[in-house]
């Protein structure tokens, strides 16, 4: 009797596991149904767009009635609805409907004349946050320096706080945003313009994971004393809850819907701290073209919105490189640096894109002082927090230069990087500097570097300022690029003497062996001085 019971139990357990597994494969899945046209639709931009969205389009000389903004054809929606299990959402920009459908329905949908393409939906985004550290010995320094590393005092002195700039934040939840003192100035002055939860189609976003609350505080929050912890304390905000921890399919759809919502409601800057990586892609897919969110991010840029996206936290994982949409060429991808050294923080994802486009574009603190949902503050790690620090900076830059178009602003922020024109795939152009945004000139720094090559390798000699105090360290950045402009090797060396070996002969031999390219270029950056030359010139 007992044996019989055991056998039945085992069989039931196997059936449940196998049944669920098989069911998972056969059941309905989420798809994008791309429609063939938008015939017979009507569109009134003045009824659809917020005034700020209209102003932004006019500033960028964009048509107020563009095909991508028109609504979907209602009769097509009806047909698709009849041929699928349910409709999850839609995107005007891509003229597509998100549906749940089984394989038979998909075959039927593909045969419809109004359907141009059917594509399975990508899923599983991860927020680019790592962990919260409750306290560190340098917490006050971190708080002060996360903005001061970008010369915040210059914006402050000029009375620039992002006033009049509208920022949309896409994240997993915003609990406490409406109650905590860190964001009270925004709420009380009515600068939280609109919220929408795309995961449940309702207005309330003040629940779920507190990642969005932390992020918002890095854009425009204040500390207990009222001092800024994000630069854009005077900006206006749109909050979109787009992520559910690990729910399949929805996040990509939510991101697409949110970007259109942000556009419609006049956002000039979007901060997004999510990225899609190895669940659906290979590294070579990170070309800024393959994913729908990358295309959407580029389209947002073409409509006059600056998309600021975290580079990702895979620098020390097997994936290593940026995710999508940070790979889109018009997205300002933000890497993370260590608050102590201002050098790449280990988890920050590396560039470039699969097409060799430089990423990240700039960087900021990858460990930041953030407001918590309960009203306290903590130190949080992740490029999720570097991204909003730069989004706040971008809002100030836009307020200071209101006539700049999106890509002009994008390049201005790149040029303001403290390493510019030097760059590498860990830091981009470095940490943006307010002085460049305000003056658009850079202090002329005396030539300070001499370089040479010997049988031992490539050496750099610091001529000015070449005297080191005992215990003093400085940083030399160096990279080697090929004739296509792609950096193939880069370094940061901590030094305390004038003459240093930058690349050993073994390293150079390896590079020459791999590259088969005699036109390698070497670039150096040290203490504000940049020098670049052919390896043969050394």
């Amino acid at each position: 009797m007992m044996n019989q019971f055991k056998k039945i139990t085992i069989l039931i357990l196997i059936s449940i596991f196998f049944g669920n597994w098989v069911q998972g494969q056969q059941n309905e899945q989420a798809y994008w149904i791309f429609l063939s046209d938008k015939n017979d639709v009507t569109f009134d931009p003045y009824a659809y767009f917020d005034q700020k969205a209209i102003d932004r389009r006019m500033k960028h000389n964009l048509s107020l009635s563009h095909f991508t903004d028109w609504p979907l054809n209602n009769s097509y929606i009806q047909i698709v609805k009849e041929n699928s299990d349910s409709i999850l959402g839609q995107t005007r920009w891509f003229n597509a409907i998100a549906v749940m459908a089984n394989p038979e329905q998909i075959i039927a949908l593909q045969k419809l004349s109004c359907v141009r393409e059917v594509r399975p939906m990508k899923y599983y985004a991860v927020t680019a946050a790592t962990e919260h550290i409750s306290s560190t010995s340098d917490i006050d320094n971190d708080k002060k320096n996360q903005l001061e590393s970008m010369e915040y005092h210059l914006f402050q002195e000029a009375g620039i706080d992002g006033k009049g700039v509208r920022i949309a934040i896409f994240d997993g939840g915003f609990p406490g945003v409406n109650t905590i003192s860190a964001l009270k100035p925004i709420i009380e002055s009515g600068r939280l313009i609109m919220t929408w939860d795309f995961t449940k189609n309702k207005e309330n976003v003040f629940y779920s994971i507190s990642h969005g609350t932390n992020v918002m505080s890095c854009i425009g929050g204040v500390d207990f004393d009222g001092n800024a912890i994000g630069m854009a304390t005077g900006a206006e905000y749109l909050l979109a809850k787009t992520e559910i921890k690990r729910e399949p399919y929805s996040e990509e759809k939510n991101w697409l819907e949110a970007v259109e919502w942000a556009d419609k409601n006049g956002a000039e800057i979007i901060n997004s701290s999510l990225g899609y990586t190895s669940d659906r892609y290979f590294q070579e897919d990170m070309d800024g073209e393959k994913s729908l969110v990358a295309k959407a991010a580029n389209m947002a840029a073409s409509k006059g919105i600056l998309v600021v996206n975290a580079a990702g936290n895979d620098g020390d994982s097997g994936w290593e490189i940026i995710g999508t949409p940070a790979d889109a060429d018009s997205v300002l991808a933000i890497g993370g640096v260590s608050p102590e050294s201002l050098i790449h923080i280990s988890f920050s994802s590396y560039g470039p894109t699969a097409t060799g486009t430089m990423k990240p574009n700039v960087c900021a603190f990858g460990q930041a002082y953030v407001a918590e949902k309960g009203g306290g503050y903590s130190i949080a790690s992740g490029t999720s927090f570097a991204s909003p620090l730069v989004a706040g900076f971008a809002a100030c830059a836009l307020q200071a230069n209101p006539n700049l178009k999106t890509m002009e602003l994008f390049h201005l922020i790149e040029q303001s990087g403290h390493l510019y024109p030097y760059f590498d795939y860990a830091h981009g152009f470095g940490i943006p500097q307010a002085s460049y945004i305000l003056n658009q000139t850079r202090d002329s720094i005396p030539f300070s570097l001499n370089t040479s090559q010997s049988s031992d390798g490539i050496f750099a000699e610091i001529l000015y300022p070449g005297k080191f105090q005992i215990g003093e360290y400085r940083y030399l950045y160096a990279n080697i690029s090929n004739s296509d402009g792609l950096i193939i090797k880069y370094k940061v060396i901590k030094i305390n003497q004038s003459k240093i070996e930058v690349f050993s002969n073994e390293e150079l031999e390896d590079l020459f062996f791999d590259q088969d390219d005699s036109n390698l270029q070497v670039s150096f950056f040290y203490s504000g001085c940049h020098r670049s030359m052919s390896i043969q010139e050394l």
Binding site: P120, A426, I488, V492, I493
Partner: protein, 249 residues
């Protein structure tokens, strides 16, 4: 003079220590070559990883004369799995593992393995087979994915090369009778066996089933055994094992 020597030595030490730390490379990266994608990875052409497995030997088709105790009879394995990817949905591979099969024999009245001594609950009898196992398999992956193992179904065939042991242990507090005997490689136990394997999994976790096709026991060559147990060979131990494997990657 001593004072100057001390200062001189101190200066030397300082110079040496400064020399050692004169430069330190804190970031050194080679750019990933997208034109020549990596050949090794979870969903790349080649992949290799360790795994652990634990399964329960099920009482399925067991003989009452050689019953196991379900729950105490188990398989443990530590292995290395190689995978070669043909397409996104089809791969082949081989697992190599060290396996322990532990059959805990139930002491019922009909039991005749490894002997027909009937000690009720006090006796513990085990048949343990430690083996090196080779398992070629075919893998069918389901669903689109990036560089991930994803969801899959494996079917395979295993070959075991075993060393066998039979352990009898008897302890009776009242009669103060204690003994433990170990028979290494008993002549009636077959050293090599084979079977079929199937598993379904998602990423690092999988549920598997192994079914031994070949027999564990030879026919008796000793007439005394035949006379003692009334059979030509010991009844087979159960063949089906079901368990979980965890990929270590």
């Amino acid at each position: 003079m001593k004072k100057y020597t001390y200062i001189f030595n101190l200066l030397i030490i300082m110079m040496i220590s400064l020399g050692i730390s004169a430069q330190e490379t804190i970031l050194d990266e080679n750019t990933y070559d997208y034109k020549d994608p990596n050949l090794f990875g979870q969903n790349r052409p080649f992949y290799l990883h360790y795994y652990l497995g634990y399964g329960l030997i099920t009482p399925y088709q067991q003989d009452i004369r050689n019953e196991i105790i379900f729950g105490k009879s188990f398989e443990f394995e530590l292995g290395l799995r190689f995978k070669y990817r043909f397409t996104n949905w089809l791969s082949i591979g081989t697992s190599m593992s060290y396996d322990i099969m532990n059959y805990r024999i139930n002491q019922n009245a009909e039991n005749i393995f490894p002997n027909n001594n009937y000690y009720i609950d006090e006796a513990k009898e085990k048949f343990i087979s430690q083996s090196f196992s080779l398992l070629p398999y075919l893998r069918i992956n389901i669903g689109r994915r990036g560089n991930k193992i994803g969801k899959y179904m494996d079917i395979g065939y295993f070959f075991n090369w075993s060393g066998n042991r039979v352990i009898e242990k008897y302890e009776d507090e009242k009669s103060e009778l204690h003994y433990k005997s170990v028979y290494i490689n008993p002549t009636y136990a077959i050293k090599n066996n084979q079977g079929i394997f199937a598993s379904i999994g998602n990423q690092r976790y999988s549920i598997y089933a192994k079914y031994r096709i070949t027999n564990l026991f030879y026919n008796f060559t000793d007439q005394n055994y035949i006379d003692a147990y009334g059979v030509n060979k010991f009844p087979e131990l159960p063949r089906l094992t079901i368990g979980i494997q965890i990929g270590l990657f």
